[in-house]
Amino acid sequence: MVKDLSVSLCGLSLKNPVIPASGTFGFGLEMAAAMDLNVLGGISLKGSTREARYGNPVPRIADCTAGMINSVGLQNPGIDVLVNEKVPALRRLYDGCIIANISGFSVEEYRECCTRADECEGINLIEVNISCPNVHGGGLAFGTSAAAAAQVTSTVKEACHRKPVFIKLSPNVTDIVEIARACEDAGADGLTLVNTFLGMRIDIARRKPVLANTMGGFSGSAIFPIALRMVYQVAHACHIPVMGCGGVTSAREVVEMMMAGATAVQVGAENLRNPFACPEIISELSSVMEELNISTLQEIIETV
């Protein structure tokens, strides 16, 4: 039987729920020669800020058991290059959902960048990152306080009239439901969760942190059960759709995230281990649905 992998996300029809997470797939363009991008349900682009950023010094990557830590620090060419070059170039190659991921160091910067993304024709959805653990004075600072998260949310919602706005939440908080509710109350159209967990490694021979920036964001298969729990809690507490993200490596885990409450599922660190992870997961989905007697993926959302 032909399986229906499509899902509806804030009025957008996605051919399937699988989306490479921001920061783990570049601008999509880097992958175009290696795979058919059009199998992907969506692509969340590398996080963008108003000005171009180099990011943090290297080393920026530390290997871990069942995961990795990155401290890239939002390296990006800036919002102008995103909307004028990257998105138009990707749009020529890709007919699915293009998600702009926006970061900022002030509420005003979030407003400016989201306005530009909202006006950019090729972008379908805006994901506002208030959870980057790798930059000081921005990102995470807005994601760990309900009041600040609400302030960013209401500001960007005022600025965006055309496209759904998702807020990407940090797991580095005491109560993620409180932050999620604050974003929903401030007008968010949806939520992406979770970003990376703050972590570190030490090189015991050099007696120094592995990362030049000391700490970074931990992601990978180890965080899946924690991310799943947070998706479950938030999806059941809020009424807006959730994109589940964190440690997903297989079609079974996509199904699990959806049963917990995710409408779409982002795959992050696994792309770094296996650049073909998303197409492989998508091709695996039908047989997992067959095995579980699922005819349409939409019907399993938040069924647990």
């Binding site: 880097e30 290297v58 080393p59 990557i61 530390a62 290997d63 890239v72 296996n274 073909f276």
Partner: protein, 242 residues
């Protein structure tokens, strides 16, 4: 970029702490380095390609950490997932006459593949390789067969000239039109500062994806930020900010 399965044909200690890994499978690899999935470790590990064959390729690696120690225990017949077609390698065409190859430790490995290409194009190559001590020397005979002779240096004087490759460069003053270097960063920095002519160096950095989309290995260069895995690992001397 492509992901392929290769079969381990040889995984043998060839010098102190140094293994030769021969993989065979769906053909030779393109690109400067491969990204190997070592069972039990999360991120892949990048290795420079030392040689290619119609069936596969050869690498040299040192057991420097847990990942490479685990790699050294893999038996013949093991299957390994390999990302191929990665990196921008040495540009043999940049050398319009006589080449100078300066390697340190396992930096000799990618220089060997380069030397084969230079020789194929009929270009002469002077080779200087530095090691810590005699029992760490690799590829000496292979380079001698290919290029006629090799100048060796060791830090403890147990083989060749005692000292660094830069000492050998000062003593020999080899004539060259273009140089290529690969080895520890401090060595390549010294080589690039000492040699006046044009050349290029193969840099090393901790990588995430290895294919240019995670931006984990970006460095600052004279031309702006560059990804070591995709825009490099080989960069022109004048691009590198030591």
């Amino acid at each position: 970029m492509d992901k392929k399965l290769y079969t381990l044909k040889e995984n043998r200690l060839v010098a102190a702490g140094t293994y030769r890994l021969v993989l065979s499978g769906p053909g030779p690899v393109e690109g400067e380095f491969v990204h190997l999935d070592i069972p039990g470790y999360y991120l892949r590990r990048p290795f420079s390609v030392c040689d290619t064959s119609p069936e596969g390729f050869t690498l040299l690696y040192k057991t420097v950490g847990e990942g490479t120690r685990a790699l050294s225990t893999l038996p013949v017949g093991a299957s390994l997932s390999v990302l191929t077609g990665l990196g921008k390698g040495f540009d043999a065409s940049a050398c319009q006459g006589k080449a100078l190859l300066v390697g340190g430790g396992l930096g000799a490995a990618p220089l060997y593949l380069l030397a084969k290409e230079l020789r194929k194009e009929g270009k002469e190559a002077t080779v200087i390789l530095g090691f810590n001590k005699a029992d760490e020397i690799v590829l000496q005979e292979e380079f001698e067969t290919l290029c006629g002779s090799v100048t060796l240096t060791t830090l403890d004087g147990s083989a060749g000239v005692k000292g660094f490759v830069t000492d050998a460069l000062k003593a020999l003053k080899p004539a060259y039109d273009y140089f290529y270097t690969c080895g520890p960063m401090v060595m390549m920095k010294a080589v690039c500062q000492q040699l006046e002519g044009p050349g290029e160096a193969s840099l090393e950095e901790r990588m995430g994806c290895g294919a240019g989309f995670c931006y984990g290995c970006s460095i600052q260069t004279a031309g702006g930020p560059r990804r070591v895995c995709k825009d490099g690992p080989v960069f022109k001397k004048e691009e590198i900010l030591w």
